[in-house]
């Protein structure tokens, strides 16, 4: 009993010592104010947490669970085709019907959630499947968004031209980044990609003449087959509500963006799911597990790594185009390192390599902060805590990666 309490008490004391200056003595100019409650509260929380951890460890040691021991603890789940087919019909139907029931605010959040789904799917290829820790993923997002914005500004490109071109541009950037970092792995790769992301942001911020610097760039709203979504069309154009003969609503544009985005997400999902079971996807995962073994077996690691970078970057770039289209304006503050960390958190929480997990995590992590607006200051703190806790207790993510089983005949 004494030993049980001793360790948590020690932790609490250390936390008290460490947090007293930062939480207890709050700077007011060159002076400070004293808040004695916060360090005590943090120390008490640390005490309870550590005690809980110790008790949990004792409890799980005393449990005898032969069934649990036999069950597959790590690795993959296998699902049959029936369940999969039902879900793949039901979920798109719900998703397509959704925007017609949402108000303006709900639509904005839904579009944002879908953009994060795209980003997370892109990063999932690079980090989850190929195991290349990319911490500058936001660079490709920025390339997509600015590709559309600047393409419109200087070349007069429309949304539909910019979409494939920005995607190709981002994929090119992915190749460009991928080439020099081929020999690196793990930490080195993480730092170089992080540096790359910052370089892109700093250039966007400082190159006033071309990118408008911190003031950003206006983006034209998309059109659909020449029909515009504004109340009154520009010269020669037809607004869509007149064409369809319905009343004007500012939601129409967002509904349109949502629907296009949703279709793109479905397309990317289909692509990524298939890729995962194709030789390329299998090689990505093999390379993640053991690069040396792969190369000894004759796998061309250059092609495999570059394809992962390019594919991930392309999806990120598409996300960027939709971001620019839905905001109507881009500036460098949307593309900070925090964005990369957020997408990484989504991929980690969803389970590295698990496609449904990543999609669910992206949706939850976008909608949850919106619901908890009052606690928005704690958002990053909670993300950080969640990342640490996940890696320690459930490194395979909340939803385990699933492997498809291929059945021959009826069972």
């Amino acid at each position: 009993m004494r030993r049980l309490l001793l360790q948590p008490l020690l932790t609490a004391t250390l936390i008290l010592i460490a947090t007293t200056p930062i939480s207890g003595l709050v700077l007011q100019g060159y002076s400070f104010s004293f808040h004695w409650q916060s360090p005590l509260f943090l120390a008490a929380a640390a005490f309870v947490l550590h005690l809980g951890l110790i008790l949990g460890r004792i409890w799980s040691r005393n449990q005898f669970r032969p069934v649990a021991a036999l069950r597959l603890q790590k690795g993959a789940w296998a699902t049959g085709p029936e369940w999969r087919r039902a879900m793949s019909l039901l979920l798109p139907a719900i998703g397509l019907a959704l925007p017609f029931f949402l108000d303006k605010y709900g639509l904005t959040v839904a579009i944002l959630a879908l953009i994060y789904v795209l980003l997370a799917l892109g990063l999932n290829i690079v980090v989850g499947l190929a195991g290349l820790l990319d911490m500058g993923f936001v660079a490709f997002y920025a390339v997509g968004a600015y590709g559309y914005a600047l393409g419109h500004h200087y070349l007069g490109l429309g949304f539909w031209t910019a979409l494939p071109m920005a995607a190709l541009l981002a994929a090119g950037c992915g190749l460009l980044l991928g080439f020099p970092v081929l020999r690196m792995h793990g930490d080195y790769l993480a730092i170089v990609t992080l540096g790359f992301g910052e370089i892109i942001r700093l250039i966007l911020n400082n190159w006033m003449d071309f990118t408008g610097g911190p003031n950003g760039v206006q983006v034209d709203f998309p059109t659909f087959m020449g029909l515009e979504f504004s109340r009154r069309a520009k010269e020669g154009g037809v607004p869509i509500h007149e064409f369809l003969g319905i009343a004007y609503s500012s939601n129409i544009r967002n509904i349109f963006i949502y629907l296009v985005l949703f279709l793109v997400v479905l397309l990317v999902l289909a692509l990524v799911t298939r890729l995962k079971y194709m030789p390329l996807g299998r090689t990505w995962e093999a390379l993640r597990e053991d690069e040396i073994a792969c190369r000894s077996l004759g796998i061309n690691h250059v092609v495999v790594k570059l394809s992962a970078f390019a594919m991930g970057a392309m999806i990120g770039g598409v996300g960027g185009v939709f971001f620019a289209a839905s905001q109507g304006f881009v500036n460098p503050t949307s593309f900070t390192f925090f964005e990369s960390a957020l997408v990484l958190a989504i991929v980690v929480l969803g389970g590295l390599g698990s496609i449904p997990g990543v999609v669910i995590a992206a949706i939850v992590l976008t909608i949850l902060p919106e619901l908890l607006r009052d606690f928005s200051g704690y958002r990053i703190l909670v993300f950080g805590l969640a990342m640490v806790a996940m890696m320690i207790w459930r490194p395979q993510g909340l939803i385990r990666p699933q492997r498809r089983i291929f059945l021959t005949g009826r069972h």
Binding site: V181, D187, F196, I199, Y378
Partner: protein, 311 residues
């Protein structure tokens, strides 16, 4: 570019660069030692530096409040208190983000370290507010020297002089600790071969903790010095400074202690000349590009040994 400039401007930039580089070197020590011992980057190291800058301001305010007015005593007390508490933060980082994942994949500790740096950043922001903070200028005045044929003037502020002296002393102390004490020997043994060291009875977990603590302490020294020099900081500074210090560590050869200091000085000089003679808007871009170039063309750095992957 440098040819044709007045010599005193070049010398002045060189001095500013050395001062900047000394602080980069101090922070780079944390990266290089941690990398040497566990082969991983301590992603939370930049945030540790940020915490130490806050601690500096808090301790200056506190000690002045309790009537410690004699300047050398105040500086010594602030330095000691900041180093101690920051070292504790370094220990926490290892304990939370690295030790539970010793047997795990390489990706996992990286992600926990990113998590810890997010935690530290938002913890400081929530506790101290998002606005930027400052400290009163304690060391004022400067030495003035005349050089060159036209008698051009260069200034070395007292703070800059203080930075060079303290940085040199702490590096000397660190070298002594690592080379001459049992603790340093244990750390070096663990660095050479973790499994063998633990078989020979060296508490490797403690050695790894020690390295994190030492790294944090050096970052704290840098935090005190930089805060005294610039006087203002916010909760964002850890990110950029962290990457630059990492660049310094890579430049000098990651895993090598003298390399970290050399890399810091070179990076400081390069950045100072770049922002002085080329363009100060792009000095961060310059530092990042330097990092990328070094990693591509000479990943083992100036003083490091090339790593061979073993099966």
């Amino acid at each position: 570019m440098i040819v044709g400039m007045a010599p005193e401007i070049v010398v002045q930039q060189a001095i500013n660069g050395l001062v900047l580089g000394a602080t980069y070197g101090l922070i780079a020590v944390g990266y290089t030692m941690v990398y040497g011992i566990i082969g991983m980057i301590n992603f939370a190291h930049g945030e540790i530096y940020m915490v130490s800058a806050y601690l500096t301001a808090i301790f200056i305010a506190t000690f002045q409040f309790f009537g410690l007015a004699y300047l050398p005593a105040l500086l010594a007390a602030v330095l000691a208190a900041t180093v101690l508490i920051t070292a504790l933060y370094g220990w926490f980082v290892e304990r939370i983000a690295y030790r539970p994942l010793r047997q795990s994949t390489r990706l996992a500790p990286l992600i926990t370290a990113i998590g810890v740096s997010l935690i530290l950043q938002s913890y400081v922001r929530l506790s101290q507010g998002a606005r930027s903070q400052g400290i009163p200028s304690l060391l004022q005045g400067s030495f003035t020297l005349n050089i060159g044929p036209h008698g051009g003037m260069i200034h070395i502020t007292h703070v800059q002089f203080f930075i060079i002296v303290i940085a040199f002393l702490s590096m000397a102390l660190l070298t002594f600790l690592m080379l001459k004490t049992p603790m340093g020997r244990a750390c070096r043994a663990t660095e050479q071969d973790l499994v063998m060291a633990s078989l020979l009875g060296i508490p490797t977990d403690r050695a790894i903790s020690t390295v994190f603590v030492i790294g944090a302490a050096m970052a704290a020294v840098a935090g005190v010095l930089v805060s005294l020099n610039y006087g203002s900081f916010d909760f964002h500074i850890g990110f950029i400074t962290g990457i630059k210090a990492f660049t310094a560590a890579v430049l000098g050869g990651i895993g090598s202690l003298p390399g970290a200091m050399l890399g810091g000085l070179i990076l400081g000089l390069a950045e100072s000349f770049f922002s002085g003679f080329v363009n100060s808007d792009y000095k961060d871009v310059f530092a990042f590009s330097l990092l990328v170039l070094v990693l591509i063309f000479r990943p083992s750095g100036l003083l490091g040994q090339p790593q061979v992957a073993k099966v």
